[in-house]
């Protein structure tokens, strides 16, 4: 990256030197990227295994897929979709930081932009994912 330094923080008095990155958006987005990546990767192992049951019998596959339809597991699926969506959006932000000449300068704004997109997608997404669970638990089905 070029030698462009991020603008000096206005409240520099309160912070020790050398924390332009540490403890701010840049660091926490990196932490969240690692955690969401690892969680998704561990789920992927389980998911390949459960899908492999189509090779055993239709009954065994349908049985394991029924766990995904349970309202509690349904909540965890929203967590998974949220994790994957964050990882995808932040991955695009990382690519922008690496390849776009102004990416590093705007990394903070880029983070808040992807957080905004995440919320806009997750609100209707969670609604449609929870619809059936609500119908089952509160009796309209």
């Amino acid at each position: 990256m070029s030698s462009v330094a991020p603008s000096a923080p206005t409240n520099a008095k309160k912070r020790p030197a050398g924390t332009l990155y540490r403890g701010r958006e840049g660091m926490w987005s990196w932490v969240a990227h690692r955690i969401t990546g690892v969680l998704t990767f561990f789920f992927l192992f389980a998911h390949v295994l459960d899908t492999a049951l189509v090779r055993v019998s239709p009954e065994s596959y349908d049985k394991v897929i029924d766990t995904y339809k349970n309202p509690f597991v349904n909540l965890m699926e929203i967590g998974l979709v949220g994790a994957v969506l964050y990882h995808a959006l932040n991955g695009l932000r990382i690519i922008a930081v690496d390849f776009w000449s102004k990416g590093a300068r705007y990394q903070r704004q880029l983070l808040w932009a992807i957080v905004f997109v995440w919320v806009v997608v997750m609100v209707p997404g969670a609604f449609f994912m929870l619809k059936h669970s609500f119908d089952v638990m509160f009796g309209s089905k």
């Binding site: 520099a12 050398g18 332009l20 690892v38 090779r55 339809k69 979709v81 991955g91 390849f99």
Partner: protein, 142 residues
């Protein structure tokens, strides 16, 4: 490192990964290719995985409509077979390289690092092989 408390000059940050005096270990660019693979596979996976999640979890009743017959209907089409095969390979390799980075970052003893990576590569090989086998040998009339 220590700038004056009232100085407007930002602190000097050393360039990352600079190892003065240490010779380059090899002639290969493996880490560069791994870095590039994460970006290229990442862009493809954004489409494949978000598309997969949207179709499976949100569209048309979401996960409630998924069963053996649904899978059989999808894998009757080569398009979805290729989609799922590509997604399996790219996601597994992307995740494996990500976890490899994390293991390299946090393990302190050579033995621990070797053991964890051995476990990771074994699990990855088995999972990619199993998933590929399932897609290629799927039989809707089982």
């Amino acid at each position: 490192m220590a700038t004056s408390m009232h100085s407007p000059i930002p602190p000097v940050i050393e360039a990352p990964r600079s190892a003065p005096g240490r010779p380059r270990r090899g002639r290969t660019n493996t880490e560069l290719y791994a870095w590039l693979f994460m970006r290229v596979s990442g862009i493809v996976l954004v489409v494949l995985v978000l598309g997969h999640l949207f179709i499976m979890n949100i569209l048309d009743g979401g996960v409630q409509r998924i069963n053996f017959a649904f899978v059989a209907g999808r894998w009757a089409s080569p398009f979805w077979q290729v989609w799922d095969l590509l997604m399996l390979w790219l996601a597994m390799l992307h995740g494996t390289n990500g976890l490899r980075t994390i293991i390299n970052d946090y393990t302190r003893r050579d033995g621990t690092r070797l053991a964890l990576k051995g476990l990771l590569y074994t699990a990855t090989t088995i999972t990619i092989a199993l998933g590929t086998l399932v897609i290629f040998t799927f039989d809707p009339k089982i």
